[in-house]
């Protein structure tokens, strides 16, 4: 829509003016790792990161969410009546979200907001959120976004995309929301054609730096049972310790559990992130478990991401190539290898 300029030296003022209208989440370095946190006062945001260890998915889909509350006091008129927990959804900005993480939210969106059911907490947060993305000048060696429908300067799911050009950012608005945000922050200066060219060159150069590729072209045509019964799953799962790190860090993993908690006569219904890596995830009350073995759970994770998701939603794969699971898996299971095994079966 339009290309504006934000001088880096003006960034603190820019964020300050955003804070007048929005709650601002930005990457802050803590104990050696970057993490998206709300800007309260004078924190130093630090844009010198590749991918944050935790994706910002928790800002839309908190690790723990209070859904409902209820009162168990039989003397009260509303005893045992479940009510929605009151919440505010103020306008908010995620500043500095990486394009892969923004795309991941679009991957999740078809699950949480579909023609039959709309998850109210997800929908309200998505509506209240503006996404200011930061393109990746220096992708990591584990990044493979360009193979899975994203890229270091991919625009999907973003309202504004920032190109870091050294002394200044080129801020490209992509939606009305993004236009409105820059307007409210008083960003007026248009980028000239020389700067736009620089941004385009940066994008091209950065895409070239992503040397890690995975094949996906044949996944759709494969028969689900051929993949399910493939001979390689024992080998893939062999080293897995079912720790759940991959699902915890994955920006597209959305599975959750619902639990009730009571304190005296007051109760809450809470949803918590869950993981298909854990045997309890599918354990029936009868004791029967459709996925009692580790290999079945590992297969479920990859089949869901690379096959079931695409078959169900016709929306690509449920992987954005961020490389977190590759980087943090304690036993070095590499999803890129599984892409090859499945695609080339």
């Amino acid at each position: 829509m339009s290309d504006k300029i934000i001088q880096k030296q003006d960034l603190p003022d820019f964020l300050k003016s955003l804070k007048k209208t929005y709650e601002v989440f930005a990457p802050i370095k803590e104990n050696g790792f970057h993490r998206f946190k709300p800007l309260k006062g004078e924190e130093n945001i630090d844009l010198n990161f590749t991918n944050t260890r935790l994706s910002p998915k928790s800002l839309l889909f908190p690790q723990s969410e209070r859904m409902f509350e209820f009162n168990l006091d039989e003397k009260s008129a509303d005893a045992n009546i479940v009510k929605e927990a009151p919440k505010d959804y103020p306008p908010a900005v995620i500043f500095g979200i990486r394009p892969c993480d923004a795309k991941a939210l679009r991957v999740m969106n078809v699950n949480f907001d579909n023609p039959e059911f709309r998850d109210p907490w997800w929908v309200r947060r998505m509506e209240s959120m503006t996404f200011v993305g930061l393109g990746c000048n220096e992708p990591s060696s584990t990044c493979f976004c360009t193979s899975v429908g994203s890229g270091p300067f991919n625009e999907e799911g973003l309202d504004v995309l920032l190109f870091d050009l050294g002394e200044r950012f080129l801020a490209r608005t992509l939606t009305d929301k993004g236009e409105k945000l820059l307007d409210e922050a008083g960003v007026k200066k248009d980028a000239d054609s020389a700067i736009k060219k620089k941004a385009d060159a940066l994008k091209e150069e950065s895409e070239k730096k992503i040397s890690s590729k995975v094949p996906t072209d044949k996944l759709k045509e494969k028969k689900v049972n051929d993949l399910f019964n493939a001979p390689f799953w024992d080998d893939v799962a062999f080293a897995c310790i079912n720790c759940g790190t991959c699902t915890f860090l994955c920006p597209t993993c959305w599975c959750f559990d619902i639990q009730d908690e009571i304190t005296k006569k007051q109760g809450d219904r809470i949803r918590n992130w869950d993981s298909c890596m854990f045997p309890l995830f599918t354990l029936h009350a009868s004791g029967h478990n459709p996925r009692p073995e580790k290999v079945q759970r590992v297969r479920q994770r990859f089949m869901h991401k690379l096959k079931y998701y695409g078959d169900k939603y016709n929306n690509g794969v449920a992987c954005v190539g961020c490389g977190r699971c590759v980087k943090y898996c304690p036993v070095n299971i590499d999803i890129r290898e599984v892409f090859k095994l499945m695609n080339d079966l």
Binding site: I81, V224, D260, A285, S286, K312
Partner: protein, 281 residues
Amino acid sequence: MLDNPYLPLPVRIEQITVETEDKNLRTFKLVFLNKEDEEQFSYIPGQFCELSIPGQGEIPIGIASSPTESGFLMFTINKTGVVTRYIHNMKEGDIIGIRGPLGNWYPWEAMEGKNVVVIGGGFAFTTLRSSIVYMLNPENRNRFKDITVVYGARSPGLLLYREELAEWEKRDDINVHITVDSTDDPDWQYNVGFVPTITEQKITTSEDSYALVCGPPIMIKFTQPVLEKVGFTPEQIIMSLEMRMKCGIGICGRCNIGDKYVCKDGPVFSLAQLNELPKEY
């Protein structure tokens, strides 16, 4: 305002009936607290609900009443886990919540004008009971040809809905074959034998028929070949599956078989559909 599909509607436990002699199965008749909730709640046999007990959690349970029975919903619950144990100790008049109706239903449109064979075992007879009551309703009965039921349990005292079974047995617009695995009751007037054996004796044709089959895995395993022998195709064999569920609306991610969520794309599947999916249930 956005509808919240996770929000349970309040209902009162109107009546509790102990169904089986081991007392592990009780039927709960539930009545909506709010008239407008009752009016908006419209379901089809085969669907289920999440019963929601504040402080304990939620359980997915098939609807055992039929939409032709108005004013209440009925659920028959096996005492198994945390929530079912708790509800078994609740009293008439207690308030719980309900979410639904959820999931799909038996293929009523396809079954129109056909013979319907209902095969059930043990406590997996709840949505089948709903279906039978629905078909026997005077407004619906002529939409179907012959209705045949084979229903068995381990012993007479473990059969659900015994009074209704005895009534159906006497009617001439439905063929009911009740069976038990064994009994030492000298007055037992029905069949003795496993469900697959009785099915083999009583179901001799698949012509123009659909079979609705619900029961423990072992029963299904031995009933399937019996049905296939008389010519039932995988498209004519309909089953209802169970799975651990939470949200009930295809979002929380735990009840999948391949790319299907049992809670939303099921619980009813034809054998033909199941044959295309991974064997992981």
